[in-house]
Subunit: 360 residues, 2 copies
Amino acid sequence: MELKITCIPGDGIGPEIVREARKVLDSVAKSYGHRIQYTDILMGGASIDVHGIPLTEEAVETAKAADAVLMGSIGGDTTTSPWYKLPPNLRPEAGLLAIRKALNLFANLRPAILYEELAKACPLREEISAQGFDMLIMRELTGGLYFGDRKTIEENGIRKATDTLVYDENEIRRIAIKGFDIAKKRSKKVTSVDKANVLDSSRLWRSVVEEVAKNYPDVTLEHMLVDNCAMQLVKDPAQFDVILTENMFGDILSDEASMVTGSIGMLASASLNDTKFGLYEPSHGSAPDIAGKDIANPIATVLSAAMMLRFTFDLDKEADAVEAAVKHVLKEGYRTADIMSEGCKKVSCTQMGNLLVERI
Amino acid sequence: MELKITCIPGDGIGPEIVREARKVLDSVAKSYGHRIQYTDILMGGASIDVHGIPLTEEAVETAKAADAVLMGSIGGDTTTSPWYKLPPNLRPEAGLLAIRKALNLFANLRPAILYEELAKACPLREEISAQGFDMLIMRELTGGLYFGDRKTIEENGIRKATDTLVYDENEIRRIAIKGFDIAKKRSKKVTSVDKANVLDSSRLWRSVVEEVAKNYPDVTLEHMLVDNCAMQLVKDPAQFDVILTENMFGDILSDEASMVTGSIGMLASASLNDTKFGLYEPSHGSAPDIAGKDIANPIATVLSAAMMLRFTFDLDKEADAVEAAVKHVLKEGYRTADIMSEGCKKVSCTQMGNLLVERI
Ligand SMILES: CC(C)[C@H](C(=O)O)[C@@H](O)C(=O)O
Ligand SMILES: CC(C)[C@H](C(=O)O)[C@@H](O)C(=O)O
């Protein structure tokens, strides 16, 4: 099979971790008889430095021409980097929001898994973490407060800023369908999170989700208020299978959930549209403080590449092989600095990539 | 001194816990030579049952005529209670939002403290909880998504819902001042939480908070994105002193912080306006499942009454006495069911109230 992949190395540790993920993909291609054609595009700070803007139209066109996008991470230190002296719409993150919208990537999937081998890194007590957990946050990614109208005006000398949270039923329905579809292949439970006791958009969310649920009689649906969900993630993360929620709540809850696992350097993500096309990136940020030191953890990016094999290319066996390789090196005790613990063998970013390649 | 207090027993366990808090207040009044004049009003489900609406104008007037309001909790089981068959603006929670607005209670203070005696209930690992933590969430309570325009319309047969997030600089300034004022009396650090990489309202928030900070050279200000804050609360809660944030973020983060303490039955809150007037209520909900069983924990309400003594009446000695009594009974090993642990003595709601009264 021919795989056309656009890479966004990005900023900070981005280039290092994408390099290792490509090595792993290449090794998969070789073993299973596929051919990969890579193209690189600039985004975020890397694009600002060259083009003055965080994402060019040409870059978007290149991405569109591929089957999938593999991204590292973007952004820099917000207090010291010159990128953050620019107006908001020219900063690195604006590139990320722009590509999500341009490619219509409305469904953001963020698994939050407690890896048995890394259970010690979990910030929760053993009584809570002992049973393990494996949830997936299905976050709506192209609507809500992120893309509603906004303005800052001065009225009688008083500055006033407005953002708008808008959802229509179609936007809600398509993400709900993605949520139920994936729950069907997992533990068959959807927790839809909203703030229906306050927001109109949440009340519409809730009723559309209920309509969609009717087509999935074997999937259990429960509704949870966002404030309660923020509590439950800490109290009892094992109760969750698929968490289905809107853009801003998903941003907050998925980060909370990833921290609850204790190993954010391991967490992949996929952003999908209505076709097989997707953008795949680690859940963590660009970690400018450790960039270029070859100590970053490439596993989240490698697992994002595995999600790409599975979702975009339907190459389940190949995806399984990558995930098995990750489990394998963890079992053997290899760790990058961020997940290092006593008695394990500390390896660099490059070494981790090599170990994974050997085990494909 | 003459203290005029309006009580809102409310729904669920509300009446039981308010009764115990009143006993404690009465005992303080007796010991320190004050006279308390109580009036009761209905709110939430209790008001719906009598008046058909969750808050009457007369109730608001009664509250306004007092120096402070002591509230239990409102609301019922959202799936079984008939209150939740009513339209949203007639449900119990609408009463709470209405009284916040009517009394201009823009500053919501929620301390999240890890009590040494209850450290075992903390869901975090001992390495994290061992150093303890004591933070205060200063949440803006009368603006943002909670009170902006909202509407649900049908456009070409498609339902579409809109909520609006609005802040003007005056609303931000007055809550920021409250945040810095209280930080000055605590550990002198303010963490202002926003989503300035996306929202206009957050960018205005950030610049007004920076203006206010200039008048507090001895208080350290840091900015944190809301998604990162949701992570940091789990990873390292001890880093926080005062968290200053807008209404919706404050709703989510204060609940997360309260769960991180592991003893939400202990957490008080105060909602203040620009005068000494305030509404005081426990951080927890109405727990309809255990209502009327005399097993609820009255301590959060008792500590809310202590906040009232301190903030509204400037009776610091009296507030200290209440807080000391709480510490005392915990040291002696008395626990209500929610915070019970091995080797402690389990007591009812009434017994806990009596124990506190005896120790004033
Ligand atoms: C960088 C930022 C705009 C982005 C978001 O808020 O969506 C990030 O936090 C994420 O979750 O991918
Ligand atoms: C009941 C609800 C409307 C309320 C809120 O969201 O403010 C509650 O969660 C709170 O935090 O006091």
